[in-house]
């Protein structure tokens, strides 16, 4: 699936959040969205996913090829996991398969498949409250994979986790993207994550959010390693790109009451 | 009087049944006795008794109810005289049937079994009256379905709209209802006498510690009763109510307290209709009061240890028939 973001503008009541965002996402590409707090990353991702209607502009699906059995081409992975606390792990996954006319057996097979992929089989009957943060996010990933998406839209999927779990899951994400060649848009604050996972990094400017630069990282994802000097160089480059705006964003009163 | 202008608080209802009190006050009988009386008008009968039991007032008159006897049994009250009494010679409370029930055959008191009966509360005087009527008319009181409706207006509303079949009510309500065709009078309580409707009472403390004041009060009250009887209970040779020379004067006095919001021409007939019999000298029908207490006790409405002899004090006014 090839996505084209065309002239997206978005304003909340008084705040102009995004202005004239234009770029394309190639099939199999991982695009990271970075930028200071409040620059409109989440807004843009919601628009791409059809969860927010943009004030102007459109998201076009140019190449409609989707994987076989795809139930939901653009699939969101939420930062706060968004698991139903009253359903088990398996129940949370099968939820998104239930209204698509699949037979019970088909659903169960898909659930089993993604549980195996994410190493969650032993926890299929656990409730969300019984899981650690990292496991909850793995359930979120499993649920997303169960619909065989054409593209994953991930809004800071690791930021609710502690540092150690984050490192562990980051490795799993890198492996997943390398293995499946999944198309993905990945919003993050963490430049380290961006340089580990993305083929291209879109850096946004603050309010109204506009594209400051699109930074390409041409090392195959599978070959990237923690602490690789090239990656550290990319990370510093990105940091320099957004540093001043990040400092300004931090200084800013969030609510001038 | 020995002590001039002793203060007494009187608790009364704005009903004709309290008329002797109003007369005693307005005609100065209380003042003549050296009592500086203040009358507080209460909205309901129950609090009158409570006010005397708790010492908030000195004297009161209300109807006898189960609640009254229970309160009296706790020792704080003494009944010292009479209020209304049902007498065969005078119209008292009437037994009414709703139009619907009347048309369906409830035309006399002995047909009440199987019908519903409106009353304000379990243990109220209405409850006693239907029980008493049932006993004397020879049917089982249990065969009448009781509908407690909290207030007289609710009872009237329910009867008028046919939601209950019957009730017993004072004459000044019963007669207009019957005249307006809103209900039918199928009997009178006076046909099932004796029935001592209510009494004059004071606190035990007054009886024990201020006898003299009670005596003064009783004298004034009796004068009020005498005026009431002369003005409102005068009859001709056939036993028909007639006006006496004091009737207008007494009506004027009572009107200050009862139906005060109505013009005189509307209020006077209501007062006359409501003027039930009071015994001479306000003598209490002790035998009937004892019978009432027993009736309530038999049904568990009044505690078994309530002893009428302990809360009735006939040392001020001799009992009826003594």
């Amino acid at each position: 699936m090839r996505l084209q973001i065309k002239g997206i503008c978005h304003s909340y009541d008084q705040v102009e959040a995004l202005r004239d965002i234009d770029f394309g996402i190639e099939p199999g590409e991982v695009v990271a969205l970075i930028g200071p707090s409040g620059c409109g990353k989440s807004t843009l991702l919601s628009i791409i996913g059809g969860l927010l209607a943009p004030t102007r502009g459109e998201i076009l699906i140019c190449d409609k090829a989707t994987p076989e059995g795809c139930l939901n081409p653009l699939t969101y992975v939420f930062q706060d996991f968004a698991l139903l606390p009253w359903r088990t792990v398996a129940g949370n996954i099968s939820l998104v398969l239930e209204d698509h006319g699949l037979s019970k057996a088909d659903r169960d097979a898909r659930v089993a498949e993604v549980l195996e992929q994410t190493n969650l089989w032993d926890f299929r009957d656990a409730y969300p409250k019984q899981l650690s943060g990292g496991m909850k996010q793995r359930v979120g990933i499993a649920r997303a994979l169960a619909v065989r998406p054409a593209a994953l839209l991930m809004d800071e999927p690791l930021s609710a986790l502690d540092a150690q779990t984050r490192i562990l899951l980051l490795d799993e994400f890198a492996a997943l993207f390398a293995r499946t060649g999944m198309t993905a848009v990945y919003v993050t604050h963490n430049l380290n994550e961006a340089v580990r996972l993305a083929n291209r990094v879109v850096a946004l400017r603050r309010r109204p959010g506009t594209i400051k630069e699109i930074h390409t990282i041409d090392i195959p994802i599978a070959e990237r390693r923690e602490g690789m000097p090239e990656l550290i160089a990319h990370e510093s480059a990105l940091w320099n790109l957004i540093r001043d705006e990040a400092i300004a964003a931090d200084k800013e009163l969030e609510n001038v009451a | 009087g020995a002590q001039a202008n002793e203060k007494v608080d009187i608790a009364a209802l704005a009903f004709v049944s309290s008329a002797p009190l109003f007369i005693a006050k307005e005609k100065g009988y209380l003042a003549d006795e050296g009592l500086d009386a203040e009358i507080s008008i209460f909205q309901a009968a129950q609090p009158v008794a409570v006010a005397i039991a708790s010492g908030d007032a000195d004297f009161g008159v209300t109807a006898f109810t189960g609640g009254f006897f229970n309160l009296a049994a706790k020792g704080a009250l003494k009944v010292i005289g009479a209020q209304l009494h049902e007498d065969p010679g005078y119209d008292g409370s009437a037994i009414l049937a709703s139009n619907a029930a009347f048309e369906a055959g409830l035309t006399s008191v002995d047909k009440l079994p199987g019908h519903s009966f409106a009353l304000s509360q379990v243990g109220s005087s209405f409850h006693y009256m239907i029980g008493n009527v049932a006993e004397k008319a020879g049917f089982d009181p249990e065969s009448v379905e009781l509908k407690p409706l909290q207030s007289v207006p609710n009872m009237i509303g329910a009867l008028k709209s046919g939601q209950v079949d019957s009730m017993i009510i004072v004459p000044h309500i019963a007669k207009p209802l019957a005249n307006a065709g809103a209900a039918h009078i199928i009997g009178w309580v006076k046909d099932y006498v004796p029935y001592q409707v209510g009494g004059l009472f004071t606190s035990t403390e007054n009886v024990e510690e201020n006898r003299e004041m009670v005596e003064k009060f009783v004298r004034a009250y009796q004068k009020g009763v005498a005026d009431y009887r002369a003005a409102l209970l005068a009859t001709d040779a056939d036993g028909k109510l007639v006006e006496s020379d004091t009737t207008q004067e007494i009506l004027e006095i009572v009107h200050k307290y009862v139906y005060a919001n109505d013009p005189a021409d509307k209020a006077y007939p209501k007062i006359r209709n409501g003027a039930m019999f009071i015994t001479e000298e306000a003598r209490l029908d002790v035998a009937d009061v004892k019978a009432q207490v027993k009736w309530y006790q038999d049904r568990g409405y009044v505690s078994a240890d309530a002893d009428p002899a302990k809360f009735i004090d006939t040392s001020f006014i001799p009992a009826l028939g003594q």
């Binding site: 998201i59 | 908030d56 207006p153």
Partner: protein, 277 residues
């Protein structure tokens, strides 16, 4: 298995428009407040009600017409009776509410802060809270007489229990980390109470005031059942007894408006005391 999946997919693709724009799907489930609709609804209900009354669909006995209610209300205003009733009721409301609230706050803070008060306090409140106050009226008459004290007591009792519950709920809700912060800086206990627990519990306590003031208004009727010559509750009771339904509804409208006023006042208080939120 893959057969029916591809069918599903084929359907979905054919359903998509050829322009192939990403479809907006986060519709609904976000009801918006709309004051105009609220007012419109009231106007519509009253208009319908008046229409029903005028055409006789709603009998005068069953429900007085809005015009009749308005007339009754107007009558109360011009004769000045309304102020008499309202004055008497307000005095009882304010007096009873303050008594109940002060006692409730005190007990609530004890229950919220001290282990010795906790379980007995909670048990006591949960046993006595559900007792209908009307049931106790006969006893209230004996305990407090038939004058104003019994009216204050009825309202105060009604207000006391929810205030206790809200106050200790509020104390419980004070973030423990704030208390720990105070203690980590060695603040004395009295300072922790005054500077952290009290302001921290304030939002819950204030929202409890909304409940307790509603309860106080509801209990006005019960309070004025006994020996009240004036008062909105007494007015409603008398009107009910006389089946003057227009006056009755007029009284009810006054209570409703009173409730709105109180809630508006509490809103101001909220905004003033909780400006930091």
């Amino acid at each position: 298995m893959s057969h029916d999946i591809s069918e599903v997919r084929a359907e979905r693709q054919s359903a998509a428009s050829p322009a192939s724009q990403v479809r907006f799907r986060a519709t609904g489930f976000n009801p918006k407040a709309n004051p105009v609709a609220a007012w419109g609804f009231f106007v519509a209900v009253i208009a319908l009600w008046q229409l029903g009354s005028s055409t006789g669909v709603i009998s005068e006995l069953a429900m007085p017409s809005p015009v009749a209610v308005a007339k009754a209300l107007w009558q109360l205003i011009v004769t000045g009776d309304l102020w008499l009733h309202l004055g008497a009721s307000l005095q009882r409301l304010v007096g009873g509410w303050i008594m109940g609230t002060v006692a409730g706050l005190f007990v609530g803070f004890l229950v919220g802060m001290f282990s010795w008060a906790r379980s007995p306090g909670v048990a006591f409140v949960s046993a006595l809270f559900p007792i209908p106050k009307i049931a106790l009226l006969p006893l209230f008459i004996i305990w407090f007489g038939i004058g104003e004290p019994s009216k204050f007591a009825t309202i105060a009792f009604g207000v006391f229990f929810p205030t206790v519950i809200n106050t200790f709920g509020g104390v419980d809700n004070v973030q423990r980390n704030l208390i720990r912060m105070g203690q980590s800086f060695d603040l004395p206990m009295w300072s922790v109470i005054r500077k952290i627990i009290l302001p921290g519990a304030l939002p819950t306590i204030l929202s409890g005031f909304r409940i307790s003031s509603s309860i106080a208004i509801i209990l006005l009727i019960a309070a004025e059942m006994i020996g009240a010559q004036y008062g909105i509750g007494a007015l409603i009771l008398a009107a009910g007894n006389l089946y003057q339904t227009d006056q009755l509804i007029a009284g009810v409208v006054v209570l409703s408006l009173l409730g709105l006023c109180v809630s508006w006042l509490l809103g101001r208080l909220d905004r003033w005391l909780l400006a930091w939120r």
